[in-house]
C-alpha cells in the first residue's frame, strides 16, 4: 500500500507527460481519464446546448427527465443504444459500417496531444500541432465514406459539401496556425516549436498570449482560426452538410441508433478538439489570466481559488433552483436530486480549495474554462445566425480568409524578423 502511494507521489512530482517519460501505466491512466472526461464533456455539452439554446429561444428545453432535464442526455443515450441499427439495402456494407468509427477515431485521437497542463497530457509530440491538424482532417474520410456508402442522393451531396468545405477551410486554418507557430520562434535560439506544450510554454516565456502578440496580427490570425474552426466542425452557420432544411441530415441521413450517436459524439469531440487548438495557440492554454501583469504570489493565491469558487457557484445554483422547485410531492424526488447534485458539486468545490489539489488542478481548470467559452460561442452562433449558402461559404473560405491568412502570415514573419534582427540583434 505504501508503495502504491509512493508510486503515485513519484508520478505527481514528475515534470514530464507520461508519454514523454515512457511510462506506459500512467499513459494508460491518462488515456482513460481523458476519454472518460471527454465523454462526460460531450454529455454535459448535449444538455447545455439544449438548455442554453432553449433559453435563447424563450422556451425551457428539457425539463422532464431529472431535475431541469439533467438526466436527459443519459436517457437519450439509452434510447439511441436501444434503437434498431438500420442499414439501407443497397448500401455498401463494409464502408457503411466503418465510416462512423473512422470519424470517432479521428476525433478522439487528437486528444493524445492536447495539453491540459504542463504535465497533464497523454504525450507531447514534436509534431504536436501537425499531428492534430492531420488527424482531425482524417474525419473527412469518414464523412465521405458515410455519404457514399449510404447510396442515396442527400447523403452523397452532404458528404461532398462537407468534405469540400473541410478541405477548403483547412487551408486558411493552416495559415493561421503557422502564423501562431512563427511567434513561438521569438526566443534566444530563434527556433520555434510544433509541440503543443512548447507553444504554451513559449507564451509563458514571452509573457503574452499570442492573441495579443503583434497587435492586431495575432488577433486577426485568431479570428481566421475561429471562423475556420466552426466551418471545420460543420456547425452553424456553416452547417451546410447537415442543413436539415435542404439535405434532411446530410451525410448521416441514413444512419440510426448507435452509429448515428457515434457521429454525434464525433461532432462534439471535434468541437472540443478544435477549441483546444485555439486555446493552446492563442489563449495561453493552461495559463491563468494575466500571468505576467499580476504575477505576485498573492495573485497566484487569488487565482488558485477560482476552481473551487466556480464549483461552489454551481452548487449554489443547484440549491437555488432546488428551493424554487414546486412544493409538491411529485417534485420531491427531483428536489432532493437537485440538492444532492448541488452537494456533490459543493464537495468537489471544497476539495478544490485544498492547496495540494488546487496546485495540480488549476491548469486543467483554466484550460477547460477557456474551452467552455468556445463551446458557449458555438451555441450562441447556432442560436443567432442563419445558414450560409454553399457558394458563399466557399467564397468566404477562398476569397476572404485565405488572402487574410496569407497577409497575416507574411506580416507576422516580417515583424518577427524585424524584432529579431533590428530591435534585439
Amino acid at each position: 500500500m505504501g508503495q502504491v502511494v509512493q508510486y503515485i507521489r513519484s508520478y505527481l512530482s514528475s515534470d514530464q507527460t507520461p508519454g514523454a517519460a515512457g511510462n506506459m501505466f500512467w499513459a494508460l491512466v491518462y488515456i482513460m481519464l481523458v476519454f472518460g472526461g471527454l465523454s462526460v464533456a460531450v454529455i454535459a455539452m448535449n444538455w447545455l446546448e439544449r438548455k442554453i439554446l432553449a433559453h435563447m429561444q424563450v422556451r425551457l428545453g428539457p425539463m422532464r427527465v431529472g431535475p431541469h432535464g439533467l438526466l436527459q442526455p443519459i436517457a437519450d443515450a439509452i434510447k439511441l443504444l436501444l434503437k434498431e441499427d438500420i442499414m439501407p439495402a443497397e448500401a455498401d456494407g463494409v464502408v457503411f459500417w466503418m465510416a462512423p468509427f473512422i470519424v470517432v477515431l479521428a476525433a478522439f485521437t487528437v486528444f493524445v496531444v492536447v495539453p491540459f497542463g504542463p504535465t497533464h497530457a497523454i504525450t507531447d509530440m514534436n509534431i504536436g500541432i501537425l499531428f492534430m491538424l492531420g488527424v482531425s482532417s482524417l474525419s473527412v474520410l469518414g464523412i465521405v465514406m458515410a455519404g457514399w456508402a449510404s447510396n442515396s442522393h442527400y447523403p452523397l451531396i452532404g458528404a461532398l459539401r462537407s468534405s469540400a468545405q473541410m478541405v477548403s477551410y483547412e487551408v486558411a486554418m493552416g495559415l493561421a496556425v503557422v502564423s501562431a507557430i512563427l511567434m513561438t520562434s521569438l526566443n534566444a535560439e530563434g527556433t520555434g516549436t510544433l509541440s503543443m506544450i512548447g507553444i504554451v510554454q513559449a507564451q509563458q516565456a514571452q509573457g503574452e498570449w499570442f492573441i495579443f502578440k503583434f497587435f492586431p496580427l495575432g488577433l486577426i490570425a485568431f479570428f481566421i482560426f475561429a471562423v475556420a474552426m466552426v466551418a471545420e466542425t460543420n456547425r452553424a452557420p456553416f452547417d451546410l452538410a447537415e442543413a436539415e432544411s435542404e439535405l434532411t441530415a446530410g451525410f448521416h441521413t441514413e444512419y440510426s441508433g448507435f452509429r448515428w450517436s457515434l457521429f454525434f459524439l464525433a461532432e462534439y469531440s471535434a468541437m472540443i478538439a478544435v477549441s483546444s487548438i485555439a486555446v493552446t495557440l492563442w489563449l495561453g492554454g493552461w495559463l491563468r489570466p494575466f500571468p505576467n501583469l499580476l504575477n505576485s504570489s498573492t495573485w497566484d493565491l487569488v487565482f488558485s481559488l477560482f476552481p473551487g469558487v466556480t464549483f461552489l457557484l454551481f452548487a449554489a445554483m443547484c440549491f437555488y433552483n432546488a428551493v424554487r422547485m414546486p412544493k409538491h410531492p411529485l417534485f420531491r424526488i427531483q428536489t432532493i436530486g437537485l440538492a444532492g447534485f448541488g452537494v456533490v458539486l459543493g464537495l468537489i468545490g471544497l476539495v478544490l480549495f485544498l492547496p495540494a489539489v488546487s496546485m495540480r488542478v488549476q491548469d486543467i481548470f483554466w484550460f477547460a474554462a477557456k474551452v467552455a467559452g468556445f463551446m458557449y460561442l458555438y451555441i450562441w452562433y447556432r442560436g443567432t445566425f442563419p445558414r450560409y449558402r454553399f457558394d458563399q461559404l466557399m467564397q468566404m473560405g477562398w476569397k476572404v480568409l485565405l488572402p487574410m491568412g496569407l497577409g497575416v502570415l507574411i506580416l507576422t514573419a516580417g515583424v518577427a524578423l524585424l524584432q529579431q534582427r533590428i530591435w534585439h540583434p
Binding site: M98, L130, S137, L138, M145, L160, E170, G192, T193
Partner: protein, 169 residues
C-alpha cells in the same frame, strides 16, 4: 519518445501495408481500393515514426491521407463507377504484366541477398527531438532552390488540373 517493441510493430505495420497494397490492386470497387490505400498510407506513417522521421509522418498523414486520398474519393464519386465495376477488371496483357513484375521481384531478391552486407548492422543514431527544426533548416537552407521548384511544380499542377477539369474556362 523512443519506439517500443519495434519488431512487433514493424511486422504488424508491414503486414497491414502489404495486405492493404494487395487490396488496392485487387478490389473491383475503386472506393474500396482507395480505402485500402488509406490504410496502407497510415500504416506507412507509423513506420516513418519508427524510423525517427516524425515530420515526414505528419506530412504523410496530412497530405496523403487527408488531402490526396480525399481528392481520389471525390473523383471516384464524380465519375460513375457502376459501369466499370461490372466490366472486366484486368486488361488483356495481364500475363505480360505479371511476368514483368515477377522478373522485377526476382531482381530485387537477387540484389538484396547479394547486398546484405553493404548495409550497416546498426543504424546511426539521430536526434529525434528536434527533427522538425532540422528539417526546416535544411529545407529552407540547403534545399531552398528545390523547394522553390517544387512550389512552382505545384502551381503548374494546379493550373493544369483546373484547365483539364473545368468545363468552361
Amino acid at each position: 519518445m523512443a519506439p517500443v517493441a519495434t519488431p512487433f510493430f514493424f511486422y504488424l505495420f508491414a503486414a497491414i501495408m502489404v495486405i492493404g497494397g494487395i487490396m488496392v490492386i485487387t478490389r473491383k470497387n475503386p472506393v474500396h481500393s482507395a480505402l485500402a490505400l488509406i490504410v496502407t498510407l497510415l500504416a506507412q506513417a507509423s513506420v516513418y515514426l519508427m524510423l525517427y522521421a516524425p515530420f515526414v509522418a505528419g506530412v504523410q498523414i496530412i497530405l496523403y491521407a487527408g488531402g490526396i486520398m480525399v481528392l481520389f474519393l471525390f473523383v471516384i464519386m464524380l465519375v460513375s463507377i457502376d459501369r466499370s465495376i461490372r466490366e472486366r477488371q484486368f486488361n488483356s496483357q495481364w500475363v505480360v504484366g505479371l511476368i514483368a513484375a515477377t522478373a522485377l521481384g526476382g531482381l530485387f531478391i537477387a540484389v538484396y541477398t547479394k547486398g546484405t552486407n553493404i548495409f550497416p548492422e546498426h543504424a546511426l543514431s539521430i536526434v529525434e527531438s528536434d527533427n522538425t527544426q532540422q528539417v526546416a533548416t535544411m529545407l529552407y537552407g540547403q534545399y531552398m532552390f528545390p523547394f522553390e521548384i517544387a512550389s512552382l511544380l505545384l502551381l503548374v499542377a494546379i493550373i493544369g488540373a483546373v484547365v483539364m477539369a473545368k468545363k468552361r474556362i
